[in-house]
């Protein structure tokens, strides 16, 4: 290995919070007391929680050290398929922390929150334009939350027509949140198999679509990184039997300015602001999953909705057919600010460019790695490509082993073992914010690892060796869960 990105430096140990500190320390500036103490009902007063007492220095050192064991997009490439780990612009953070936004109470009278309402209204317009849809709700807090919202909307639609449909079609390549969200809505997911070419054949839909099926949940481009070519025909088949088409927009990054889902048959779809629209993943959240709909579903959208009257914005709950609320207030406003800032910074050309470069990067990786790793679908991909460990079977090396070894080379591993239709899947999504040099480094690293698999497989089996810890015992963690200290 030549000059590695992953060469490690000083890695400090750091105990748990309650193993530090001393009683009486405080890391908080207690506000000045200008009122007298009032008696508390003895029966209600408790002892307070057993928290450690730490100084500000204790706290800052603790979290600074912890942060050094993490790997973020700012440290290096994060080619996680389906996650769109693109660069998180710093100016977006600045906007979100403006005091007017950060300190805003959601129940302010509308005349005192015009700035917030205007921002949300604008974002709704932008997202409707990008997706080719008619109306938007920003309320769902995450992608899965958006999927639940979409399912509820479809359910309400059918109910309003006096029909109670129990099934929904879900492709075998779908993300787990799809059937889970459908089930939460009392729909029974009916699986449909993708064809040999990785996309859903229209005949397969025609065979199962009936009047007891509420619709279909379809990801486009799909989780194999392929455009669902038959989507228009599929939409027609579903519509002809009175069903609706739900789009999982997780892979929107491949088609901004190139395809508008609303124009090719989708009735409702969700977006992931923390994927396509550059808001940070935060180690697992918060995200934001706005849902865009065609006019047919508009009456059912969650409340309140933002109304513009001349120059003024208000909130209205006066929608009798609404499905209700998914979140206490209006959604993750703090995340919306960042997405809005991103869209305003990129403009139409910038977003289209982003999609073009995302697709270019993924195809470049595909072409360069297809001799080293097995490519189940050897055709042009969109913003992500899927390989498997088939070539490495003889050496008893798995996708997991290769992923773990990538960490020693300074990269976060790609998505592994998803989608389920490819055994030993490795899904790579570089995104458009990776430069050619970084991608060339990544390709070289994977090629080196594949070579190692042949010559010295233990290097992979024992990997990773450079981060803070080696492979962890997940079996013990699940058998005897220890979930609090």
């Amino acid at each position: 290995m030549k000059e590695l990105q992953g060469a490690s430096g000083l890695i400090l140990n750091e105990p748990l919070l309650w193993e530090k500190g001393k009683k009486g320390r405080c890391g908080f500036s207690m506000p000045r007391r200008d009122v007298v103490p009032s008696p508390v009902d003895e029966g209600l007063a408790g002892d307070g929680p057993d928290f450690p007492d730490l100084s500000e220095v204790d706290v800052v050192r603790h979290y600074t050290r912890l942060s050094q064991w993490n790997f973020g997009v700012d440290a290096g490439m994060y080619p996680l398929g389906s996650c769109t780990m693109k660069y998180n612009p710093k100016v977006n953070e600045r906007e979100a922390s403006l005091p007017g936004f950060a300190g805003a109470h959601p129940l302010l009278p509308p005349e005192l929150s015009q700035g917030a309402l205007e921002l949300m209204y604008r974002l709704e317009q932008y997202l409707a334009g990008i997706t080719g849809m008619d109306a938007v709700t920003l309320q769902p807090s995450a992608g899965a939350h958006g999927e639940l919202t979409g399912m509820l909307l479809i359910r309400a639609y059918h109910k309003s027509r006096g029909s109670h449909r129990s099934k929904i079609i879900v492709p075998d390549t779908a993300h787990g949140t799809n059937p889970a969200s459908a089930a939460l809505c009392d729909f029974h997911p009916v699986a449909v198999k993708s064809g040999e070419d990785g996309i859903i054949p229209a005949e397969a839909i025609a065979a199962i679509m009936d009047e007891d099926t509420a619709g279909i949940m379809i990801t486009n481009p799909n989780t194999l990184g392929l455009f669902e070519d038959n989507i228009r025909e599929i939409a027609e088949i579903v519509h002809s039997k009175g069903g609706l088409v739900y789009g999982d927009g997780a892979n929107m990054n491949a088609v901004m300015g190139i395809v508008q889902m609303g124009k090719i048959g989708f009735d409702v779809m969700h977006l992931n602001l923390h994927k396509t629209f550059s808001t940070p993943h935060g180690g697992g959240g918060p995200g934001s999953g706005p849902v865009c709909v065609k006019n047919t579903l508009k009456p059912f959208l969650p409340v309140p909705r933002i109304i513009k009257e001349g120059d003024r914005y208000t909130l209205s709950g006066d929608f009798p057919e609404t499905i209700g609320k998914l979140q206490a207030f209006y959604g993750n406003f703090g995340v919306m600010i960042k997405a809005c800032s991103y869209i305003m910074s990129m403009g139409s050309e910038g977003l289209k460019r982003a999609s073009q470069l995302a697709v270019l990067n993924a195809n470049y990786i595909k072409e360069n790695l297809k001799d080293s790793l097995y490519l189940p679908y050897d055709r042009p991909c969109m913003h992500e490509c899927v390989f498997s460990d088939k070539f490495q079977e003889g050496e008893k090396i798995t996708t997991l082993d290769m992923a773990k070894r990538l960490m020693d080379y300074g990269f976060h591993p790609p998505t592994i073992y998803f989608p389920l239709v490819v055994h030993g899947a490795m899904m790579i999504e570089p995104t458009e914010t990776e430069s050619k040099e970084d991608i060339d480094c990544f390709i070289a690293a994977l090629k080196a690892i594949v070579a190692e698999a042949g010559k010295d497989p233990d290097l992979l089996k024992m990997a990773p060796t450079r981060p803070k810890l080696r492979r962890l015992d997940e079996t013990a963690a699940a058998r005897k869960p220890c979930l609090a200290g």
Binding site: Y417, E474, T475, A478, R479
Partner: protein, 134 residues
């Protein structure tokens, strides 16, 4: 993962298509999962058991086995009533991996039809079935 030849498939039990084994005569049978199943699942971390007295049809799911990354259904080899469950699996689910045919047994059943067990496979038949699946 073990190769076909490495699997331990004893003769004193019978096998189902869904990889359970059954031991016993018509009056009371013991059920578990076989060596192929435990090998495929990997380290078992949790076993979800039915309650004594529950009644299931042949082929119906009566419980689940969880490994770290997967969940597998366990299905009834015969129709009948659950007469006992292996409570040691709560503390030691690894018994299913270590001793699949003995201490790792899962349930005991009183079959509705004592002759139903005769329809199950013997080890040679089961091996042939596995070969066909490859």
């Amino acid at each position: 993962m073990k190769e076909l030849e490495e699997l331990f498939l004893p003769d004193d039990v019978q096998y189902t298509e869904t990889h359970e084994w059954v031991r016993g005569d018509g009056g009371s049978v013991t059920v578990g999962i076989n060596d192929y199943a435990q090998d495929q699942l990997g380290d078992i971390v949790f076993v979800e058991l039915p309650e004594v007295g529950d009644i299931f049809e042949k082929g119906e799911e009566f419980g689940t086995l969880e490994s770290v990354k997967a969940v597998s259904e366990i299905c009834m080899p015969v129709s009948g009533e659950i007469t006992a469950i292996n409570e040691s699996l709560e503390e030691a689910p690894e018994l299913v991996n270590q001793e699949p045919y003995n201490d790792g047994w899962i349930i005991k059943v009183k079959p509705d039809d004592p002759d139903e067990i005769k329809t199950l496979m013997h080890s040679e038949e089961y091996v042939e079935m596995l070969k066909g699946e490859e």
